[in-house]
Symmetry: C2
Subunit: 374 residues, 2 copies
């Protein structure tokens, strides 16, 4: 079946939404943060560990899986869920962001048909089109597929962005036309950069196509925070209330709060797992670098309010030792912690929205998070 979103409660003081997302693999309350499993694995974690941290939807990357191991291998395995042995919902992105971010500019040619570029693995020339992106995602058999869009860098000229959003809309229609998997939902993506009228146009035209959900794209591409928040404001007012809204590539705790306040239901980002691989951990008092010498004999958990496996079983001193000694169990523990931190935060946020106390939660969180105890 397609996913189904039900708005259960709107916060009385903000646009924050508490909702229910029904999927082929269970029902999940929103807003949610979605861990990223780029190559059909959330880096360092097992499927059971994902369940333990109460993850709902996870992401996988169409571009990466297209190149390796190939969508046909995954299709023969019975789809992405069976291939990676994950029985929760999976969202695949379109591959567009990777094409634009991984290929060098000189190796990339955006034409009406699609994007010509060179593989980041072996340099061979490739063409990704809106149709191919959807066909690959059909084969991967994810629960939610994304339209193939152009994600321009920041900033580009108004003229460039106008042509780009028009093309992205044509690509969205072409993707819809070939989409065939009845179990798979398809989300449209609103682009338009920091230009208010282009965001409006993109939102209105994209929603006319009646996708199963809508993403706001083109954020976290180099713009400053106020600009990012304005991009959300400019688009979200035109999105329907009965479909989920997804802010792509955003995973900083402060940005999650700002997004939720504006009515976003879904987020994803490599931030928590990438931070983990660089020895950083979220805590209620801000981020800390676990390699820091001061944690050498700190036998307390990363965050004493955290209920994750790492915090329940290991000390900062031990995790620091693992990181300094370059033992992968260290980045695994930090990945579990950082993902659980954001997912736990979402649980608390959902409760706060239900109780019309989102702003209180937000202010309390920010006061503590920005104290910089460390």
């Amino acid at each position: 079946m397609k996913i189904k979103y039900t708005l259960l409660h709107k916060d009385s003081k903000t646009n924050a939404r508490y909702g229910l997302l029904e999927t082929n693999y269970g029902k999940y309350e929103t807003p949610i943060f979605m861990p990223v499993g780029t190559q059909a694995t959330v880096k360092t974690l097992s499927p059971e560990e994902l369940k333990d941290i109460n993850s709902a939807v996870i992401l996988a990357n169409t571009y990466h899986l297209w190149l390796r191991p190939g969508e046909d291998v995954i299709n023969k395995a019975g789809g992405l869920h069976k291939f990676m042995n994950y029985d929760g919902p999976i969202l695949t992105d379109s591959g567009g962001f990777q094409v634009f971010s991984l290929a060098k500019n000189k190796d990339k040619d955006i034409v009406e048909e699609g994007v010509h570029f060179k593989s980041h693995l072996d340099g061979r020339p490739l063409l990704l089109t809106p149709e191919l992106s959807i066909q690959i995602q059909n084969k991967l058999d994810s629960d939610i597929a994304m339209s193939f869009d152009e994600c321009p860098p920041y900033p580009v000229t108004y003229e460039y962005m106008k042509k780009s959003v028009e093309r992205t809309l044509r690509w969205a229609k072409r993707g819809l036309d070939v989409h065939q998997n009845p179990r798979q939902s398809l989300f449209g993506i609103v682009q338009g950069g920091e230009f208010q009228d282009l965001r409006k146009w993109s939102a209105l035209e994209t929603t006319k196509l009646n996708f199963d959900g809508y993403a706001i794209g083109g954020t976290s591409v180099g713009e400053d925070k106020p600009t990012m928040y304005k991009m959300i404001d400019d688009a979200i007012i035109y999105l329907p209330h009965d479909k989920p809204r997804y802010l792509m590539g955003v995973g900083d705790p402060i940005d999650l709060l700002e997004g939720i306040e504006r009515g976003i239901d879904m987020f994803d980002c490599v931030h928590p797992t990438r931070l983990a691989r660089h020895a950083h951990a979220f805590t209620k008092n801000g981020k800390i670098n676990l390699r820091n010498q001061k944690f050498k004999e700190d036998f307390s958990p990363i965050d004493d309010d955290c209920d994750c496996y790492a915090c329940k079983n290991f000390t900062k001193a031990y995790i620091r030792h693992l990181l300094v000694a370059e033992e992968t169990f260290g980045s695994r523990l930090l990945s579990i912690h950082n993902l659980r931190f954001l997912i736990h935060m979402m649980e608390d946020i959902r409760t706060s929205i239900k109780n019309d106390e989102f702003l209180t939660y937000k202010n309390n969180f920010l006061t503590q998070y920005q104290k910089k105890l460390h």
Copy 2:
């Protein structure tokens, strides 16, 4: 308490022994294979995963922990068990092997007092003595400590080896004199290389010191297999029947069988986890390289007789994908599998000894293992 070994049954056709090892952290049947957790972590695995594969004793390396994070940090944490949150028995080696293998010859000076050498991490000059090794192990609070011995390369001259085993014996006495941890057992190490009379002398003199167990050292240092097996033969006949016998650094399945046939009770080796990090897996039909193209669409488990987490949940195709894409979850799955393979093998071997069928087990195993189906 000190460990206690009870010989429960001797195979009727070979010297293979089935016994019971009572430790501070539970009772374990022998023979056992001990996973190596060099830096207070068995690479890529959690303590729970170690329990899941039915591990008994695990190893940690005194040399590595002395350098990083330092024995005082671990002591302040409450000892190695608490530091790494492992509630099974832990054996620490003496650090000797690492000093001899990691430091370059020109950076190493073996004198009566101990060994002067340079740290493999930062080149600073260090001196490890028999007393210091034991004192560090006392602080680590492992369940079994090892005597500090010289482990010469292969081959050395008879004259060198004779001086070396004599010094190793003096070092063993010095270690015993400073050993103070009443919860910690101390094992002596028999050296002597390939020289029958030196092995005999070393075994007889070392056992006079009444250690809690005995290791056969100086194997797996470059000698051929028949020589290794002869080293065991030459030493083991002089070891007491009421103490465990430990063959250091041996983890190849064929060598485990040869060792057990000769009366060995304990083995350790980095082999299974190192193989895993190089994409190799044990199977009942020999080792396979999971990166091989032929596994790209192989949706069967690594070994269909294996009950490990990797084999119960994932296919060769998926694990191959993880390894090719350099995802650490791949080497974690292979590490779990390879360790479980050896531990499972030990379970079957113990049953075979109890039933006086060790030779049948050995022959069946070797026939299948050496078939080279792959």
